[in-house]
């Protein structure tokens, strides 16, 4: 059987990299990406310089600022990162349809097995792509090549923030052996702690345990650890894994809020945005979820469903508010909230013979249609329903 060739691209500190492309003056400045208007913001991403000073993802911004006083803080722009990710994917898809992408994080897995006759050897593809991305997008990704996703990901971690690494077929176990256990994807802190009790700290030491021995300590997890420690990973590259199975819109409050009215108004605005996207795509959403991120970092998700699906803002709002009431049970303020609409049905293009909608619904549809036209012409947010205020 032919050896697989999996390339892993990783644009280190993706958000920072994108921001630096947008504004070249930020190139040599330590950067922290975090919601600057929020009083208790956490770090979304940071540059290598800030990382060196001790800043980490998820850290409170006030603390991060203390660690890296010279850092410039930028507000995250998810839409910009999404666009940059799409540009990345567009370019790598030229070489293979088997591309698996992360969520706006600059991670891509490419399965280029069997493309030798078309594009040349796998390292050449990786090298070419890197050059292309540098030239066309200004991004300089780390890349690594191995026979599976697991090893290629570890190899990328080895060389970040800049460089490349090729792990030859059959060399996986030897490559992993001297590395610390924390480098192995999928191994949790509890498992690392248990292995530390046995005085095992390297992946090679873990690989020294037989399948039966691992069964003693890890039971059901033993098999995956056994394979992982030997650099075996049979998982396939899943193209379109992060496709458009859902529509999400979110809002981060400038100041954490405990006001129900404010939250309700934001939910109304988000519902309108979701509804407009559904109508543009000709979809009906059957499930509406509300994601609440609390000030203390915890998160609650609650959903409501509608059997027939809808793209009507008024109905979607009712669903969202019902989910909101279920979600906001704690006495802690909300930092951000998001709406997730999924379980789509295609909207029938064929008009019904009979009028099933009530006059009120017909009126609502007319209003929404008019609002969509205004939005298309004058931009988002130019017109809103009264419930959004």
């Amino acid at each position: 059987m032919q050896d697989r060739a999996i390339i892993h691209f990783n644009v280190t500190d993706f958000a920072v990299a994108v921001e630096r492309i947008k504004d070249s003056s930020l190139k040599d400045v330590p950067l922290i990406v975090a919601a600057t208007r929020a009083s208790r913001a956490v770090v979304y991403d940071m540059s290598e310089e800030a990382y060196g000073d001790g800043v980490r993802k998820g850290m409170r911004l006030t603390l991060a600022r203390k660690y890296c006083r010279t850092a410039q803080v930028l507000a995250p722009q998810p839409a910009l990162y999404r666009r940059a990710m799409m540009e990345l994917v567009k370019r790598v898809r030229v070489f293979t349809p088997l591309v698996e992408q992360g969520v706006e994080d600059g991670h891509l897995f490419l399965d280029v097995t069997g493309t030798h006759r078309l594009f040349g050897p796998a390292p050449y593809i990786a090298w070419r792509l890197r050059k292309q991305l540098q030239r066309e997008l200004g991004l300089d990704p780390v890349w690594s090549l191995a026979s599976n996703k697991l090893v290629s990901k570890v190899a990328s971690r080895m060389v970040r923030p800049f460089g490349e690494y090729i792990v030859g077929a059959g060399e996986e176990q030897a490559f992993l052996a001297p590395l610390p256990l924390s480098m192995l994807p999928g191994i949790g802190p509890k498992e690392i702690q248990l292995l530390a009790d046995f005085n095992l700290s390297r992946i090679g030491q873990l690989a020294g345990l037989s399948r039966e021995q691992l069964q003693v300590a890890f039971q059901e997890r033993s098999s995956s650890l056994y394979d992982a420690s030997r650099g075996r990973d049979g998982s396939v590259v899943l193209p379109g894994k992060t496709g458009d199975e859902h529509v999400t819109r979110g809002h981060t409050f400038a100041q954490d809020t405990g006001m129900y009215a404010e939250l309700k108004s934001v939910v109304s605005i988000l519902t309108h945005e979701v509804g407009r996207i559904l109508r543009q795509r000709g979809l009906l959403g059957r499930r509406m979820g509300v994601v609440l991120n609390y000030s203390d970092g915890s998160r609650t998700i609650r959903r409501t469903t509608h059997k027939g699906g809808s793209d009507n803002d008024f109905l979607l709002r009712r669903l969202a508010l019902a989910a909101l009431d279920k979600a906001w049970g704690r006495r802690v303020r909300i930092r951000s909230c998001a709406l997730v609409c999924d379980r789509f049905l295609p909207r029938s293009r064929q008009k019904t013979l009979f009028v099933l909608s009530t006059p009120r619904q017909l009126q609502q549809e007319k209003v929404l249609s008019a609002m969509d036209r205004v939005s298309r012409r004058f931009g988002d947010g130019m017109i809103r329903l009264g419930t959004a205020f």
Binding site: S39, L63, N199, G297, R331, R333
Partner: protein, 987 residues
């Protein structure tokens, strides 16, 4: 929590609106009765006493007003039944206890039920004529029942509405803003004319309201002094006779059969005063309680410490309620009881912390129905107010804790807004107090002093001759004990005499230490034990070697003892009392005078009062005695001043006393500057202070502990750590034990008990299983019980017989408790065995058809020494053999001084590696924050001072249980070494 204005504020507002009387009807509570009566007296209002009673949740409530004393008793009984009994039916109880009560009801259904009963019914129409009120009025006219206007007032002024909303949100555990329906309840007290206008359509309603107020003639309970009952077999007045007999019998036991004249004279005097004031039965009841504890104790070595002003009584000493001879130590009986004293004094008795609850249970069961604990009204203090307000605003708990931590150090800075004080805190990160914090702090400041909930006094018990619910409403506290609705001040106002039965850890330490000594076959004669006479103990106290000794172990106390260098009992009594938060300058002055510094009394008349205390006011009673001597205060007035001094939020009350003091002194020709100095000294009694008898009782226990530490260090330190509590952490006590030359033997499943104990070999303590973090009591007990069948011979044997949960066994292995069972295997291999055992247990649970065949164990390498120490520290919180500073040896540098050598560097700048063990934040006179921190290394312990500028620089990196390189100047004062820190770095 349902209203935001204090009774005082309500009364003031009512008086300003021209009312002549006011009714206070709290929801199911009479807790506010005494402040309400005091406020009515102050504002010349006629009090109407009542309560808003509710039955089952969905049932309508009623307002009950007491017409006379019988009605008051009935209200107390109904309320007690409602709060204590299940199956309480309001209508039934109202009918049963109808005498002397007017029942105001706003429910037609309830009115219908009660109309043909003995209940004195009145319809409650609310604060305005509404449709509902109209129906009620119509009904009352048909049945010839009066109807009255009753506004449900929850605040005095409308500007308190935000506060009321906040309280409502806190009470209902909800967010701000509260829902509209609760906001609408915010009703403030309007002028009488407003109600007359509103009810102009029904003028008869207002007339009936006036009539009703006139009918309620009860102006508050007047029980006199209520003593606990004591029943003897003999004839009348037997309490007096019995007390006399018992006192003389006890005196013979204490002083021998040939009683001296001084003893007899004092006994006679005290017995006379006790009898004339009717306190004989009280003494006998307390004696019975203490006596029962001796009998009831399984260990047979129960010890008590009678303290407070009661320790000044020779009778109490003879009855073995207290342990300090009042004649020998010159303790004034009049501080406890004197004919001029109008309030009932109480006797406080400490029991060992782990025996107190049993004793309390005995008392509660013996006097069942006539006994209850005293309540404590928990009021919003600044920290609690900020926490609760921030929660209502939805802030995360981590952030709330971060801010509220800074509050303790700024407590007491007056005259500056709290927000500004907080913002100046060095430990407060820049920008922490933005966003909603200013609003939270502003609102929280207003919450201060408002009652939050009712709790139970730590040990106050009231016993009454009649059923206690005839005097005061009783409810059941969360821990299941009956508790009256009044706090100690309320009980005192009512004349209910309280007995304090408190828990004290050090009594448990002394008990366990003596038991441990006796277990090793050595005898310990407690009867003739005079620790304060022992030269070695006195030397240890004089050298400040009193860490782990009751009440004299804090850095401030140890430094004071070192500086004083006396080590005698009398000075320790004085020192225990002079160490007060606001008395720093007097402590310095005391040391100076003690060492022969020149001084003279501020006024010649003080010679009689303050001769023993070097002209300084040290004890609580000194305040009253000076006020009597110089300002001509009456004894009662002076006692009032003493009481006010020890209370919080006393500023207003103090003003009156200050002007009286100034006036009195001026009349006696005392100069203004002397008056000011005296008043300043009196103010140093701010917060808490002791009376001499109390200090003497504590000093006795301190000396007992110091004696045991000096002569039986292993037994003593084992008992100290086992009983937990204390000023320092276990880590610090372990270090102290090592400094005493003791060996700390690692915990061992075969040799350790649950508690720490002295090993057979001399100078060794075995760590108890209780020290291993995360091990449950059940597991410890299983280990001890399994061991009764024979010691564990291998780790597998241990696992099979004890079956410990995985995490707990992991902690035991990390602590080294299974090392003796390792048989040459390393800890990694022990962990592997544990994994095998749990795999097997899991398999058994899943009822697998096949036996588990384990593969051969891998060849696991032992962990390094450093990793083993890290594991041990993680599991125990200390290291048995080494000091954790050994882990930082390579960072210490060549110029590092050892703590034990610091005294050789007096006046010089030195650097030393120190482990931070405790700290105390204080604020300077100018409001700046500074900290006293205690560091230690392998060789000793040292106190350091971080002045404001240095503290500001390093506050953020200071954390207990961390290693630092400390640089500073070594200073000495009266033989005590301290280091004034200049800079610091983390190791």
């Amino acid at each position: 929590m349902r209203g935001c204005s204090s009774p005082e504020k309500l009364c003031e507002h009512a008086a300003s609106l021209g009312y002549s009387g006011l009714a206070l009807t709290d929801h199911n509570s009479l807790a506010g009765l005494w402040p309400f009566l005091a406020a009515c007296k102050k504002y010349r209002l006629r009090p109407v006493i009542g309560v808003e009673l509710t039955g089952a949740k969905e049932d309508p409530g009623v307002v009950c007003l007491a017409v006379d004393a019988v009605g008051y008793g009935n209200i107390c009984n109904i309320l007690s039944k409602g709060l204590c009994e299940t199956g309480f039916v309001l209508e039934r109880e109202l009918i049963r206890h109808a005498a002397g009560i007017v029942v105001l009801c706003d429910s037609l259904s309830l009115l219908e039920k009660l109309k043909n009963t003995p209940v004195d019914l009145v319809a409650n129409l609310g604060d305005r004529p509404t449709e509902q009120a109209g129906k009620l009025r119509q009904w009352t006219q048909q049945h010839s029942i009066p109807a009255v206007a009753v506004p449900a007032v929850r605040m005095a002024n409308t500007n308190e509405a935000p506060l009321l909303n906040l309280l409502e949100a806190i009470r209902t555990n909800s967010r701000l803003p509260v829902q509209a329906e609760t906001s609408s309840l915010s009703v403030c007290l309007e002028a009488p004319g407003v109600y007359w206008n509103r009810f102009a359509v029904w003028p008869d309603v207002m007339e009936e309201t006036d009539k009703l107020a006139g009918r309620c003639r009860f102006r508050g309970p007047e029980f006199g002094i209520v003593m606990p009952p004591w029943k003897a077999d003999g004839a009348e007045n037997s309490a007096t006779k019995s007390l006399r007999g018992a006192a003389y019998q006890g005196a013979c036991k204490r002083y021998g059969t040939d009683l001296s004249e001084a003893v007899v004279e004092r006994l006679e005097h005290e017995l006379h005063v006790i009898d004339s004031m009717g306190f004989s039965s009280y003494f006998l009841v307390v004696r019975d309680i203490v006596g029962q504890s001796f009998v009831g104790s399984a260990k047979g070595s129960t010890r008590i410490c009678g303290r407070g002003s009661g320790a000044a009584s020779l009778v109490a000493y003879c009855l073995e309620i207290t342990n300090v001879c009042p004649i020998k130590y010159n303790l004034y009986f009049e501080r406890f009881l004197n004919p001029g004293r109008t309030d009932p004094p109480d006797i406080d008795v400490d029991f060992s912390w782990d025996e107190r609850d049993t004793i309390l249970e005995q008392v509660l069961s013996q006097y069942s129905g006539h006994v209850a604990m005293v309540a404590t009204i928990i009021r919003f203090q600044m920290r609690m107010a900020i926490r609760e307000t921030a929660r209502v605003y939805g802030l995360p708990s981590g952030e709330i804790s971060r801010i509220s931590k800074g509050l303790s150090s700024i407590h007491g800075i007056c005259g500056e807004p709290l927000l500004a004080s907080l913002q100046r805190m060095p430990a407060m990160a820049r920008g922490s107090l933005t966003d909603v914090w200013p609003e939270i702090i502003h609102l929280a400041s207003q919450l201060r002093g408002i009652p939050r909930h009712m709790s139970v006094h730590p040990g106050g018990v009231v016993i009454t001759p009649e059923p206690i619910s005839n005097y005061v409403p009783v409810q059941v506290a969360a821990k299941g004990v009956p508790v009256i609705q009044w706090d100690k001040d309320g009980a005192e106002e009512a004349g209910l005499v309280k007995i304090d039965l408190l828990g004290n850890r050090s009594l448990g330490v002394i008990r366990d230490c003596i038991v441990s000594i006796e277990e090793t076959g050595r005898s310990f004669d407690e009867e003739y034990w005079q620790p304060e006479e022992d030269p070695q103990t006195r030397a240890a106290v004089a050298a400040g070697k009193t860490m782990a000794c009751f009440y004299i172990e804090s850095p401030a106390m140890r430094l004071l003892q070192k500086k004083a260098g006396t080590g005698d009992f009398e000075q320790l009594v004085l020192q225990s009392s002079i160490i007060r938060p606001a008395a720093n300058e007097f402590v310095r002055e005391y040391i100076r005078r003690l060492h022969g510094g020149e001084w003279q009394h501020l006024h010649p008349q003080l010679a009689l009062v303050l001769d023993d205390t070097f002209g300084l006011m040290v004890y609580q009673e000194d305040v009253s005695r000076v006020a009597v001597a110089l300002a001509g205060f009456s004894h009662a007035q002076a006692d009032g001043l003493r009481k006010v001094m020890s209370k919080k939020d006393k500023l207003l009350q103090l003003k009156d006393y200050q002007s009286a003091f100034e006036k009195g002194c001026a009349q006696r020709g005392i100069k203004p500057e002397i008056r000011a100095q005296l008043w300043q000294m009196m103010l140093s009694f701010n917060g808490y202070s002791f009376c001499k008898p109390h200090s003497a009782s504590y000093a006795r226990v301190s000396f007992q502990a110091a004696y045991l530490k000096t002569h039986y260090p292993a037994e003593f330190m084992a008992a100290v750590i086992s009983n937990q509590g204390g000023y320092y952490s276990t880590f610090a006590y372990v270090s102290e034990a090592k400094r005493l030359g003791l060996v700390i033997a690692s915990p061992c499943v075969n040799n350790s008990e649950i508690k720490w104990k002295k090993e057979q070999r001399k100078k060794s303590i075995r760590v108890g299983l209780m020290a291993v973090k995360g091990v449950a009591v059940e597991t410890m007990e299983r280990i001890i019980n399994s061991r009764k069948a024979g010691k564990f011979f291998s780790s597998v044997d241990f696992l099979q017989r004890v079956s410990p949960p995985h995490d707990e066994c992991r902690a035991l292995i990390q602590a080294g408790a299974l090392d003796t069972l390792a048989c040459g295997r390393n800890r990694s291999q022990l962990f592997w065995e544990l994994a095998q055992f749990h795999c097997l247990a899991k398999n058994k649970k899943s009822r697998s058809l096949f036996d588990v065949q384990f593969p051969p164990a891998p060849a696991l390498q032992p962990s390094g020494e450093r990793e083993l120490l890290r594991q041990e520290y993680g599991a125990l919180g200390f290291l048995c053999r080494d000091h954790p500073l050994v882990l930082f040896n390579r960072h210490r540098g060549q110029n590092s001084t050892r703590v034990c050598d610091l005294e050789q560097h007096l006046g010089r700048r030195v650097s030393f590696a120190g482990w931070l063990i405790s700290g105390k934040l204080v604020s300077t006179k100018t409001g700046e924050v500074m900290e006293f921190l205690t560091f230690e290394d392998e060789t000793g312990i040292v106190e350091t001072v971080f002045f404001p500028r240095v503290y500001k620089r390093y506050a953020r990196i200071l954390s207990s249980g961390s290693a630092y390189m400390v640089t500073g100047c070594v200073e000495e004062e009266y033989g005590a070494i301290t280091v004034t820190v200049h800079c610091l770095r983390s190791l």
